[in-house]
């Protein structure tokens, strides 16, 4: 029941958006709705007996719960952040009020499509869900309807569609493997997994290749990442946070589902090696681009590629690396959204996003400045923030397996990226503010959205909450192929 509540709230909110009178009230209702969704997800995670199978259509296990949880958290934070952001956009004449309502509708449609992905049991429907997320978010990317945002939106939809077609190809090949193995013709994950050992090894291998490239495009793995910096930097900022924070992760979720089957069928080393390859390439590429980045939101977008690289490397390393990767999914979602909020506030205030031009953020907007400093260190992996730990787990896993070269490479690249991020952001944060910018404070809702995520970052950094730990450990069992959890 809770599940339907979670799914239906975005739909209802989406409909409400068109009829709402007052924009501010709409924003508040929106935030409240997503808060309730988040709490419902939390409640669901604690109370419900997993796995949950509804009409063979929905299949919820610990892994799904984990992703649902991450999605609802970021969505709530983005909804909270949207209130003031959209208001300012409207009051400054950037967008019309009608368009703002349209924004809320799309926002909810987008969150609905993302929530759908981890819930459905059918791998084909997972594909549909992910394609839906693309379609829902395209307009949010091209929201401002200017040259750059339209360009970004076009690239986003075209490249993602191409990628996702390969994912579909992979899914069909999987389906072929299932149907030729003498099983019931099904694409339901929980029905395939028990029999994955009898699938044809070669076919599954090829299918996984296509899946990895296809969903990898959506997840932002280099070299298929090219849409990502454009889309993330041009999207309306709360949505940038959602794109970076969770959209990429839904694609990873899809990959994980296929990974379980492939691992059961051909052994872990095949997927592991592929993951590590893509992880390292993503890290290297993002490192290069972060070093020379000039625009703040693009910087964060490349940082997302970096973190997806880390996650995927962690998935490739296995063992503690899997734990680290899952934890990193959570941590990166929280931290990157946090950073996007900060960047959005700065860009809104200065009306520029060039790192060379912005100066004295700390001076002009003390709260946001402090948040950005903390976020800067959090995102680049300093304790006491949570990313440090998930990265450490991945590294521990690498070192204990004796993969010195790979782990060393990751460590080195992380250090370089740290250097670049601190260099870029400290330049805008410190210094004297320009004359024409006056000192200002953020509204309560904005502050709350920051603090909410900050608390998550710190709490997980100090100690992984028991319930999150439980979900992740259960998810790990699923990744290992013990599907009944």
């Amino acid at each position: 029941m809770i599940l339907f509540y979670i799914l239906s709230v975005p739909v209802i909110l989406s409909v409400i958006s068109f009829f709402a009178k007052n924009l501010k009230t709409l924003g508040r209702i929106n935030a409240a709705g997503h808060l309730s969704v988040m709490l419902a997800a939390f409640y669901f995670a604690i109370t419900s007996k997993l796995p949950l199978n509804l009409f063979n259509l929905f299949y919820i296990d610990a892994l799904s719960v984990f992703f649902i949880f991450v999605i609802t958290i970021v969505t709530f934070a983005a909804a909270l952040f949207s209130i003031d952001y959209i208001n300012k956009d409207v009051s400054s004449g950037n967008i019309k009020e009608k368009k703002a309502k349209f924004y809320y509708a799309l926002f909810n449609f987008f969150s609905f499509s993302m929530l759908l992905v981890p819930m459905v049991s059918n791998l084909g429907m997972v594909w549909v869900g992910i394609e839906l997320t693309t379609l829902a978010s395209t307009f949010l990317v091209g929201f401002y309807n200017n040259k750059t945002s339209i360009e970004a939106a076009w690239k986003y939809i075209i490249i993602c569609s191409v990628g996702i077609i390969f994912a579909l190809l992979g899914t069909i090949i999987f389906y072929y493997a299932v149907s030729t193995a003498g099983l019931a013709k099904t694409l339901n994950w929980h029905q395939i997994v028990p029999f994955s050992k009898i699938l044809d090894v070669n076919t599954v291998k090829i299918a996984f290749l296509f899946i990895l490239v296809g969903y990898g495009t959506k997840a932002g793995l280099a070299p298929m990442h090219t849409w990502l910096p454009d889309a993330h930097s041009q999207a309306i900022s709360p949505v940038s946070a959602m794109l970076s924070g969770v959209l990429l992760k839904t694609a990873i979720y899809a990959i994980l589902r296929f990974m379980v089957i492939t691992n059961n069928c051909v052994g872990t080393s095949y997927t592991a090696n592929l993951f590590i390859l893509f992880g390292i390439i993503s890290l290297i590429i993002s490192c290069g681009f972060i070093l020379l980045q000039k625009r703040i939101k693009r910087l964060l977008a490349y940082s997302s590629i970096e973190h997806v690289g880390i996650i995927v490397t962690g998935l490739g390393l296995g063992g503690l690396g899997w734990y680290g990767a899952l934890l990193h999914i959570f941590n990166h979602a929280a931290t990157k959204s946090f950073m996007f909020f900060g960047a959005a506030t700065v860009v809104k205030k200065y009306k520029k996003d060039n790192l060379n031009v912005i100066k004295g953020v700390l001076n002009a907007m003390p709260f946001c400045g402090v948040m950005l400093i903390l976020g800067m260190f959090a995102i680049s992996g300093m304790p006491p923030f949570s990313i440090f730990f998930s990265e450490l787990f991945i590294l521990i896993s690498g070192f204990t397996q004796g993969r010195y070269f790979i782990s060393g490479l990751v460590l080195g690249l992380l250090a370089v990226i740290f250097a670049a991020i601190v260099y870029h952001l400290s330049r805008i944060l410190f210094g004297k503010k320009p004359q024409e910018i006056d000192k200002s404070a953020e509204t309560l809702s904005t502050k709350l959205s920051f603090l909410f995520l900050l608390v998550l970052m710190c709490v997980v950094g100090i100690k992984v909450p028991i319930f999150l730990n439980k979900i992740i450990l259960a998810s790990l069992e699923i990744l290992k192929g013990n599907y009944g959890l």
């Binding site: 059918n122 429907m125 549909v128 394609e131 693309t134 339209i150 191409v162 013709k185 693009r298």
Partner: protein, 212 residues
């Protein structure tokens, strides 16, 4: 036997789409290809006695043969775009490349995939070839609409694969995919309008403000 004929003709239509220079011809090619896809699906439904495939076939006919090509033609008429496709690679070279791709697909199918059935091998190679050709069109043709067509060609290839190899996907999935395709074409169409309005052209290669 007639399946072979369909398959070979679909391949030929795909080649035709590679060598055409003008937009209407490309869209007509796509219409033809979709029509052949419809025929294949229908015959499969007939021989395999799959009720669901009939519905799929009808949807193909309705969406891909009629609705989408008309929509695309409508766009190109409305924005009065130069009918030239804008080629990175001239037709002669293009056909050579696509032939190489076809060869590669066959090589891949016979070397890597392990089909027992010869028919299945041929179909797989063919569909792979169509997917790659779609990709080829997307890469080597400049205009926004050609990219949409390229995407649709790839999708057609996948439909063909699903139908011939697995006798269609699960019904719900199939329907959702249709929905997805339809929505995405509409959204892409809207964006083509917007691109035309903002840039006064639809040459997507010139969309390169965002770099690095």
């Amino acid at each position: 036997m007639h399946n072979y004929i369909f398959l070979i003709s679909i391949l030929l239509v795909t080649y035709y789409m590679v060598i055409v220079k003008r937009l209407p011809a490309l869209i007509s090619g796509f219409r033809l290809q979709s029509f052949l896809l419809f025929l294949i699906t229908a015959s499969f439904a007939f021989y395999e006695k799959e009720a669901a495939l009939y519905i799929v076939a009808v949807l193909i006919l309705f969406l891909k043969v009629i609705l989408i090509p008309n929509f695309l033609k409508g766009i190109s008429r409305k924005i009065q775009v130069n009918e030239n496709l804008g080629l990175f690679l001239n037709p002669q070279l293009s056909i050579v490349v696509v032939l190489i791709l076809t060869y590669l697909s066959y090589l891949f199918t016979f070397k890597v995939m392990t089909f027992t059935d010869k028919m299945q091998s041929a179909t797989f190679a063919l569909t792979l070839c169509i997917v790659l050709t779609g990709l080829f069109i997307m890469i080597f043709r400049l205009k926004a609409i050609t990219q949409i067509v390229g995407l649709l060609v790839m999708e057609n290839g996948l439909f063909l694969l699903a139908v011939t190899m697995c006798k269609g996907m699960p019904f719900l999935v199939e329907m959702s995919i249709f929905l997805d395709v339809f929505i995405s074409v509409i959204i892409l169409g809207i964006f083509v309008y917007r691109i035309n309005a903002l840039f006064t052209h639809i040459d997507v290669n010139k969309l390169s403000n965002l770099r690095g």
